[in-house]
Amino acid sequence: MDFGLSEEQVLLKDSVRRYFEGECPTSRVRTVMEGSDGHDVGLWSGLTEMGIPGLLVPEAQGGSGLDLLDAALVAEEMGWACIPGPYLACVMATVGLLAVDDTSVAARLLSGIAAGDILATVALGEDGDEWDADRVQTRVEGGVLRGTKPLVPYAASADVVLVAARDAEGPGLWLVERGAGGMTIAPLEGSDMTRRVARVTLAETPGTKIASGRRAIDRARDAGLVLLAADAYGGAQRCVEMTRDYVLTREQFGQPIGAFQAVKHQLADLATQLEPALSLWWYAAHAYDHIPEDAARYAALAKAHLTDLYDRAMRDCTELHGGIGFTWEYDLQLWFRRAIFDRAFLGDAAHHRQRAADLAGW
């Protein structure tokens, strides 16, 4: 038994971190934020060369066939470096495809994802903060879909959208190709412009059913929950480090503000809460592939806990910067916005705690 990362995992993290340090400073992040689609094709193709979109794709389809933990370690690094782009959508779509019934369609799409030729996303949630497969309202009759998906990540850039919908048999997953008839994609302005969302309307849109039942939908959502937790952890740790460095140099009353006990204690408390939370999302990611009875519940717990902590971290860190922390120019606000996204996307903390209580049979 071993509750730690393997050498390969440490290497993966290191190489991703070095790539972001070299290629994606916050100046580039800001350029992408201000761009039209929030998708930096150059950055993404660099990631593709490193095999990142294909991490979870089986080797037979040109991927690495790794575990969600590996994908989550990359998400942690993206959180750390504030990396824009469709990674979350890509991973959620990948695990959704790994759980579908129609394996030939899935195999074609998975090879495309690993090769970087296909950008896939998932359309799960619906108006009213509904993220549960059983309450999906989007309908399928006679091979066409009808409904609205208010917050679809990177829909405007995606080649294919995996849509959670229901037909006479109940919930399932349908494949809708870019440009399908009756599909309108309205990009939205989010607080966090490093992860784009769009409102997708389906009016008599043709789609192919690739999965029956809720399993593929649940797997996609649970993977998303773990990735958001990892992103939150990476982001919060980065901001604690930035803040530590800042309070050591900023002087007031003739000394570094980091010498004041109130400042030290605020940071110590924050770092103390964050440190064990790492093990929580590690375990959630590990359970996703290896401990089925814990997978859904730990994904919910990790998402709820880490995004709560991210919120707290961003408040404390911004406070400890004083006025500069409240400016647009200072980078801290980029992470503040990511914390907003991580917290709200796929349902908030209280919602997932309620689910976790139900899942435990309480």
């Binding site: 509750f3 730690g4 050591l248 010498a259 940071l267 103390t272 440190e275 064990p276 309620q354 309480w362």
Partner: protein
Amino acid sequence: MNLSFSPEYEAFRADVRAFVAEHWTAADAAATEVDPDSVAAMTGAAVRTDERAASFRTLAIERGYLYRHVPRAYGGSEQPPDPLKAVIIAEEFKAAKAPFEIMGQGPSMLVPTLLEHGTEAQKQRFVRDTLVGKIRWCQGYSEPGAGSDLASLRTKAELDGDHWVVNGQKIWTSSAQEAEWMFALVRTEPDRPKHDGITYMLIEMNSPGIDVRPLRQMTGDVDFSEVFFENVRVPADGVIGERGQGWVVSRSTLKHERALIGNAALQRRTFDGLLLLAQTVELRGGRAIDDPVIRDRLVAVETRLLAAERHGQRLLTLSARGEDPGFAAMVPKLYATGLSYDIAKLAMDVQGDKGLLAIGEEQAHFSGMFTVAYMWSLGILIAGGTANIQRNIIAERGLGMPREVRK
């Protein structure tokens, strides 16, 4: 990452189970039954240290199941670190209510200190008997004038021939009434700067001149005491480490004390009790656990408990790999302090108005044991270095922030 039990471990589990079944009978287990409502069960104090338990422990040590980090020569079982085996042993012993490693000041704090700094004779003299509970220890650090600022302590020892003569006073000394021995910090070099004049001394509690005066705690129990020393004579070799080096030696004891308090087992026990309580208590016409606010708080504290438990596994893995845990090892005590409070506070709230009933009152849920937990969450916040002192250490040593001015 690999949390599965490979066949090798399944076989190990079977061995442990067979061992326990053979040597700790159902009758032994029945005799061990502690009253689950008792204060002792809540604070983890109910540990059997009688002859029967001691002989079982001796056997278990021979088999390599207990005190795996302690060399054979001193009464341990000297096994290579293996967190999963440690977990299996703990689970099997617990299931059979068999005597496990004794926690507490002696085995958890003094023994590691002795192993690190003691002489061969001291290790031989004390380690084995301490591990099986034959010698019980108390910790004589705090004084009326020296709490957080421990190094300002004034209890003094002067050399008189082949003996030290100790005079002064300790306070808040847990288990001083039961303990056979005390490990204490005393001032031997009054002229030196305060950290350099301290010696780590082992004092037999039945020595003439020691007066133990019990103090009643807020829980109502008597668990700590004042200890007065009047011309108490201690053999000259009764010190650990060099004369004047006691501060350095004491650092290793404190490190182990914080690890002990940071261990999540106590929080797990309180949480399991809380969960049971929330599922059985009726509040305003329904089960307490069905109240959405209570349900939310319950999951929130459980999440932090799970994080603490997984963090413990991570620390074990780091030590098994021989890697430096660094920052990760600094946080458990402060983390546990906040968590204990939130678990206990929720348990108080789950009882609704019955929460006001006293410890031991029959009408109270679980005889009021959650009130004990509620109060003890403050005990562990203060003992072993207060929360604010932990924050200072974490900020200064962990985050590299400026050290505060200390006089």
